[in-house]
């Protein structure tokens, strides 16, 4: 059958993936510290029907060859760790990272990384994520604590009513040379991979690592208008590829009409 049918079909599949990615971005427009993704494509292989530079019938050198492309294929869905906007919540347990870096949390004995700083206290007074995963290093807030203060360089201290420190810890942030290579686990969590490189433990605010900001939450970095425009483009691209399928079909129909 015609190449164009499959070529157009590959275009439709690619645009579907594009829409899937955009939908996920839109669904997470209000997710704390969500990072948007972008589907990326490349052209598939080419079939060479005529080699450029060869001789044609009249003995002249063929200035250009004849190559037919076989469509498009998705290469990656790239995550963008661009800073999201900040929301002032006034909640002392909301901590945002301003700049590069992740918090380390323990998930069922494994280490995972997150930028979602909406921490809570569990029944033991331990600082945990909304899903109950403990922030590393573990920090227990003593019961008689009056207030909790986090400095920009990551020192967290639990103070009593006289302002005396009852307990304190240093929260580091972890940076990766290639954050886009992290494995998204859902639940705002990321896992280290071979592509991301090993985590570098940094004191917040040093070595290009971000500072901690207490009382703020990092919002999703999805931009609604941008996603909407991308969605329109993806839909139209899907449509034009479907037209290529229709046209191929019509041409095949015409070919079939040759025999009556």
């Amino acid at each position: 059958m015609m190449r164009s049918l499959w070529t157009a079909a590959s275009g439709m599949v690619a645009q579907q993936l594009n829409i899937d990615t955009i939908s996920n971005n839109l669904a997470n427009v209000n997710t704390t510290a969500f990072k948007k993704s972008r589907a990326e494509f490349e052209d598939l292989m080419y079939q060479t029907l005529k080699i450029a530079g060869g001789r044609n019938q009249s003995g002249n050198q063929q200035p250009t060859g004849l190559q037919v492309g076989m469509g498009v294929s998705p290469t990656t869905v790239h995550k963008f760790f661009k800073q999201g906007d900040f929301q002032n919540t006034g909640n002392p347990l909301d901590i945002a990272i301003q700049g590069d870096g992740f918090f380390q949390v323990e998930v069922n004995g494994e280490l995972a990384y997150t930028r979602a700083g909406n921490f809570k206290l569990n029944q033991d007074g331990m600082l945990v994520t909304s899903k109950g995963y403990a922030l590393q290093p573990a920090f227990n807030v003593p019961p008689e604590t009056e207030s909790i203060v986090v400095s920009s360089d990551g020192h967290i201290s639990a103070l009593d009513q006289n302002g005396q420190e009852l307990a304190g810890a240093d929260i580091p942030v972890y940076t990766f040379i290639n954050s886009a290579g992290l494995n998204s686990q859902g639940g705002n969590l990321y896992l280290e991979t071979e592509a991301s490189g090993p985590p570098q433990q940094e004191v917040p605010g040093t070595n290009n690592a971000g500072e901690l900001v207490q009382g703020f939450l990092e919002k999703s970095n999805v931009e609604l208008v941008e996603e909407m425009v991308n969605m329109i483009i993806a839909q139209r691209a899907f449509e034009s590829n479907s037209k290529a399928v229709t046209t191929s079909d019509q041409m095949l129909q015409a070919a079939n009409r040759l025999v009556r």
């Binding site: 015609m2 164009s4 070529t7 275009g11 690619a14 972008r38 990326e40 494509f41 490349e42 052209d43 598939l44 292989m45 080419y46 060479t48 029907l49 450029a52 530079g53 044609n56 019938q57 009249s58 200035p63 250009t64 060859g65 004849l66 190559q67 037919v68 492309g69 076989m70 469509g71 498009v72 290469t75 790239h78 963008f80 661009k82 590069d100 990766f176 040379i177 290639n178 886009a180 290579g181 071979e194 592509a195 991301s196 490189g197 090993p198 570098q200 290009n208 993806a234 139209r236 691209a237 034009s240 590829n241 037209k243 290529a244 046209t247 019509q250 041409m251 015409a254 070919a255 040759l258």
Partner: protein
């Protein structure tokens, strides 16, 4: 059989090939740095006719009709890549680089150096800047490598700075004849093996950081071409079927009179 049957058939085949190209362009309407393909087929029509015109025609030497094997050649001679600038899209990603003007990024592949205009670069854990397929972006001094995770700055001339320090210069290249580039898929172009084209520094090209060059496929144009292709195919089909009818009538009528 009349020759027009072959004309119709090869005309139809040409249109099918043309649709393949259009479908490929449309499939890559969202591929960064993609350059559209245009079949050169009107040119061939002219050249084919020109080929068979005898420069010194005499009555004896002039043939009544054109050679069949000339007529029955497919009417496409080749296709060429249109290296027109694609529109730029702002992404704000520091590793998205767009080339403005004529030029290519050099990337290292296992099969040797290749060229691309797809500027969606990534990092490897050792800091090497690579394409989505892991081919290293080359500078004059080998692969570009970043140090740690400081913010990257790329200026128009391709100088890459990290923490204020120059870590490399992306050198864009061009060729005196762009048609020596062969497409390979994966957004890569490679130099044709036998080509003698000289590689030049891309002087007119500048880099834009945080931008992506989109595909230069124009959907409206492709749609119009697609309609045209469809109708031409139908016309060719009519040529074949009416030739067939004429042949049939000829056989019937001549057969009756005999």
């Amino acid at each position: 059989m009349q020759d027009s049957v072959y004309n119709g058939v090869f005309g139809a085949m040409t249109q099918m090939y043309r649709l393949d190209t259009i479908a490929n362009n449309l499939a890559n309407v969202q591929t960064a740095g993609f350059k559209r393909e245009e079949p050169a087929f009107h040119d061939v029509m002219r050249r084919r006719l020109h080929d068979v015109v005898d420069p010194e025609p005499t009555l004896e030497s002039s043939r009544l009709r054109l050679d069949r094997d000339l007529l029955t050649q497919p009417r496409i001679s080749g296709s060429h890549v249109v290296f027109e600038q694609g529109p730029l899209q702002k992404t704000d990603n520091p590793l998205d680089l767009a080339i403005q003007g004529e030029g290519f990024f050099r990337v290292g592949t296992p099969q040797g150096e290749a060229y691309t205009r797809d500027g969606r670069f990534k990092l490897q854990p050792d800091g090497t800047v690579v394409t989505a397929n892991g081919h290293a972006l080359l500078t004059a001094n080998g692969p570009l490598r970043v140090l740690g995770n400081g913010p990257l700055e790329v200026n128009q001339a391709g100088e890459v700075r990290q923490n204020g320090q120059v870590i490399g210069r992306i050198d864009l290249v061009s060729f005196d004849d762009l048609q020596v580039l062969r497409r390979e898929g994966g957004n890569l172009f490679r130099l044709r093996e036998d080509s003698q084209a000289a590689m030049l520094p891309a002087e007119g090209a500048t880099l834009a950081q945080g931008y992506l060059e989109k595909s230069n496929v124009n959907v409206v144009e492709e749609m119009v071409r697609m309609i045209e292709t469809n109708r031409l195919f139908e016309a060719c089909q009519k040529v074949v079927s009416s030739t067939n009818e004429q042949d049939g009538q000829l056989i019937r009528k001549l057969g009756r009179s005999a």
